[in-house]
């Protein structure tokens, strides 16, 4: 009898657990559902803006798989893919992946020649590695063939760094990001502080805007892993430094970089206590939550601050150019994503994938792309009067793009080794495990040990 009861409880507990565990996969699938349902209602307005392409659907029935980073632009993909499918008959299945997973999964796909993904978003910093190893297809033949219809001169010059390696294009520009300074106009006005124009003013403003009681912090930063490494490199760029020596070899532990790391560390005194552990999403949450006054970051999240569903700071944010060190010729960090075609994919799929790239980066579609949280790559998008009226910060982005530097994070094939070492040891410095000098020395040692 007792045993029966125990067994009964066990069965109960198990069903409970199976239910809970079962929720895992279902929950990850769920986000993909709503856009699919939205699609039918979304198509009619789109059909009127897009030119009628009824003549031929040469790749009808081809199925493409797209590996996309879960950045803001994934929302634009969700909206646009059904439209593309409708127009061309090409089916695009999107797999939404986080930064680390996206890289691990696609590189495993490349080195194993398994061609699981036909299209993939390529971070600007991976372009050298993908190009040098021939992971993604060089698009130059396609581009030469279709140059006329694509109006390639319209694409911002700096945007080509999103996929160029040694003169060839291994990914097509998809989403251009400019490093800007977001700030709370209300808090700065209240404290009587002008938006900082230099790094020195940034530090002073961060200090002045931090409240003792922990209710408000001066600045939100990134401190962990790839994100921390990239934030540090952004500050190196803004201080006019470099992590390469004159011969192009990696040299992170120079006295200048040590000083910049110490400056970076002093900013953390005015950041939320958890910032040393922040990745991009947590920094974003902190700013949207309203506990920080300033945040340097990619221009992409700006529209989200005006969305009351995800933001506590609607109408309070302004944006300005990323401050550079005093006396330095202004130059702004540029980043973002290209979109590449798997070199192992079937040629028919590659052609169909190129159709997708051409379509999504075309002048007309780019407007919808921007309206659905995509990021711009074309001058025509950035200067479109209608869009500028909707998004008044576009001229600022245009200026940042004009003076953009897409190479402050070296885009060579060994980039991931540099990023991993910096990610580990910048975090070690920020958490007090190492001094700035030791941290960068150790990063340098690790980089040299892992370089092939």
């Amino acid at each position: 009898m007792q045993k029966m009861k125990v067994a009964l409880y066990l069965v109960l507990a198990l069903t409970l657990l199976v239910g809970m565990v079962g929720c895992g996969p279902a929950a990850t699938e769920a986000p993909a559902e709503p856009p699919a349902e939205e699609a039918p209602t979304a198509v009619p307005p789109e059909a009127t803006t897009a030119p009628p392409m009824e003549e031929a659907k040469p790749y009808e029935g081809v199925e493409l798989s797209l590996a996309s980073m879960t950045d803001q632009y994934v929302a634009a993909f969700r909206y646009l893919i059904p439209v593309f499918e409708e127009e061309t008959g090409i089916k695009v299945v999107m797999d939404e992946l986080g930064y680390v997973d996206l890289r691990t999964k696609t590189v495993a796909d490349f080195v194993g020649d398994t061609a699981q993904y036909d299209l993939m978003t390529v971070d600007i910093v991976w372009s050298g590695e993908y190009g040098a190893n021939g992971y993604t297809l060089a698009l130059d033949d396609f581009m030469a063939r279709d140059a006329e219809e694509m109006n390639l001169d319209d694409i911002m010059p700096v945007a080509w760094t999103l996929g160029e390696w040694e003169g060839k294009h291994y990914a097509f520009p998809l989403a251009g990001y400019a490093n800007v300074l977001n700030y709370r106009a209300d808090l700065l006005a209240e404290a009587g502080i002008e938006p900082p124009a230099t790094q020195e003013e940034l530090l002073a403003a961060a200090q002045a805007l931090t409240k003792e009681d922990g209710s408000q912090y001066g600045i939100a930063l990134l401190g962990a892993g790839s994100a921390g490494a990239q934030d540090f490199m952004a500050f190196v760029q803004q201080h006019g430094g470099t992590i390469l020596d004159a011969d192009g070899n990696v040299k992170v532990n120079t006295p200048e970089n040590v000083a910049i790391l110490e400056f970076f560390g002093s900013l953390f005194d005015y950041a939320p206590p958890g910032a040393a552990d922040y990745w991009w999403d947590q920094r974003e949450s902190a700013f949207r939550d309203g506990i920080v006054a300033m945040m340097e970051g990619w221009s992409i999240a700006r529209a989200g601050y005006e969305n009351p569903e995800i933001s506590n700071i609607v109408g309070l944010v302004d944006i300005t150019k990323a401050p550079v060190s005093e006396g330095m010729e202004p130059q702004y960090g540029f980043g973002g994503w290209g979109i590449g075609i798997n070199a192992d994919s079937d040629p028919v799929k590659q052609e169909a994938a190129w159709e997708f790239i051409k379509w999504v980066t075309s002048e007309e579609v780019q407007k919808e792309w921007l309206r659905h949280d995509g990021a711009p790559i074309r001058r025509s998008t950035l200067t479109d009067p209608e869009l500028v009226a909707e998004y008044p910060w576009l001229p600022l982005m245009l200026e940042s793009f004009e003076k953009g530097n897409g190479d402050y994070r070296p885009r060579f094939p060994q980039y991931s080794i540099v990023e991993d070492a910096l990610g580990t040891y910048v975090n070690a410095f920020l958490t007090g495990q190492e001094t700035a000098q030791d941290a960068l020395d150790k990063a340098q040692t690790q980089i040299e040990a892992n370089m092939p």
């Binding site: 409880y9 409970l16 080195v111 590695e129 962990a224 958890g274 902190a286």
Partner: protein, 301 residues
């Protein structure tokens, strides 16, 4: 046990072959799943073999990868971190698990209900557990630092980013998840104990503490061995919870060996070195397991 083993072996060899035939599926399975990969990993650990190399050249380097591991400061650190993690989790889990098993061994209704609920953490995927704890620990938005702050305890950069808190914090996650398993194993051990020695002890006037110390503990030795082996091996292999919580940080503090192997293998795709590190981990675990068995078996005889 050794006797029955030799007997089986003798029968195995002298028999007409039907034994072998019946064991064949299992043998094939073990060779394909365990022995072949083991040899394969040993083979590639002797090569400089990088998947990201476009020419896929494999240069023979002998024990070069192993020598590199012994001089690599990152590896020595990660071995230390692993040992701290294993010691922390295994000791705490055994103490807590044994205590809970004794507490809940009574067949009362409440004990039964609590026991079945305690199984929940064990059945959750470690990655999910890690993500949940990461948000609980988040110093700016998480619930644990919030309530500790209410009590006047300042966590600084947060449980996962402070040097002295990071390791205990991830040990706590592991303890939360795996103590129930240890409890179940001890519970099974306690339930299967003979009652006669206890009756004799009661007749002889032994106190409950004495009968626990002189009877329960020695009689539970086989269970201790199982728990120690199981938990030590699992703790050495920890990956998911660390991947989801600290990702090896702050700095390199919680980069355990298995996490470092993942980084070398799946971030740098340096397969030769990763295989060498995996083999080193295997040897460490094997040595520890043999030590456990020797110590506990000898005491029993």
């Amino acid at each position: 046990m050794t006797q029955s083993f030799t007997k089986t072996m003798r029968r195995f060899i002298t028999n007409d072959g039907s034994y072998l035939l019946l064991a064949l599926p299992l043998l094939i399975f073990v060779v394909v799943i365990a022995i072949y990969p083991l040899f394969f990993s040993f083979r590639i650990s002797l090569f400089d073999y990088r998947l990201t190399d476009p020419n896929q050249t494999q240069t023979f380097v002998g024990f070069g990868n192993y020598l590199r591991a012994f001089t690599d400061e990152v590896i020595t650190n990660s071995v230390k971190a692993t040992l701290v993690y294993v010691a922390g989790t295994v000791v705490v889990e055994i103490l807590l698990g044994l205590g809970m098993a004794l507490l809940l061994s009574a067949e009362t209704r409440i004990a039964q209900i609590i026991r079945s609920f305690l199984l929940i953490p064990m059945a959750l995927p470690p990655l999910v557990v890690g993500l949940v704890w990461k948000s609980l620990y988040n110093v700016d938005f998480g619930i644990i630092p919030y309530y500790l702050a209410q009590l006047g305890i300042d966590l600084g950069r947060g449980p996962l980013s402070e040097l002295h808190l990071a390791m205990p914090s991830i040990i706590l996650v592991d303890v939360w998840e795996w103590t129930p398993l240890v409890m179940i194993l001890f519970l099974a051990g306690i339930k299967s104990l003979p009652t006669e020695p206890y009756e004799a002890a009661t007749v002889d006037g032994a106190s409950r503490l004495q009968s626990f110390w002189y009877l329960t503990l020695p009689l539970l030795k086989p269970t201790f061995l199982v728990v120690l082996l199981l938990r030590t091996m699992q703790s050495f292999k920890v990956f998911d919870t660390i991947y989801a919580t600290t990702a090896g940080g702050p700095g390199t503090l919680t980069t355990v060996l298995n996490y470092q192997i993942y980084k070398v293998g799946l971030t740098f795709f340096d397969m030769g070195y990763a295989a060498a590190l995996a083999n080193i981990l295997l040897v460490i675990v094997a040595i520890l397991s043999i030590l456990y068995i020797m110590v506990l078996e000898r005491q029993q005889l």
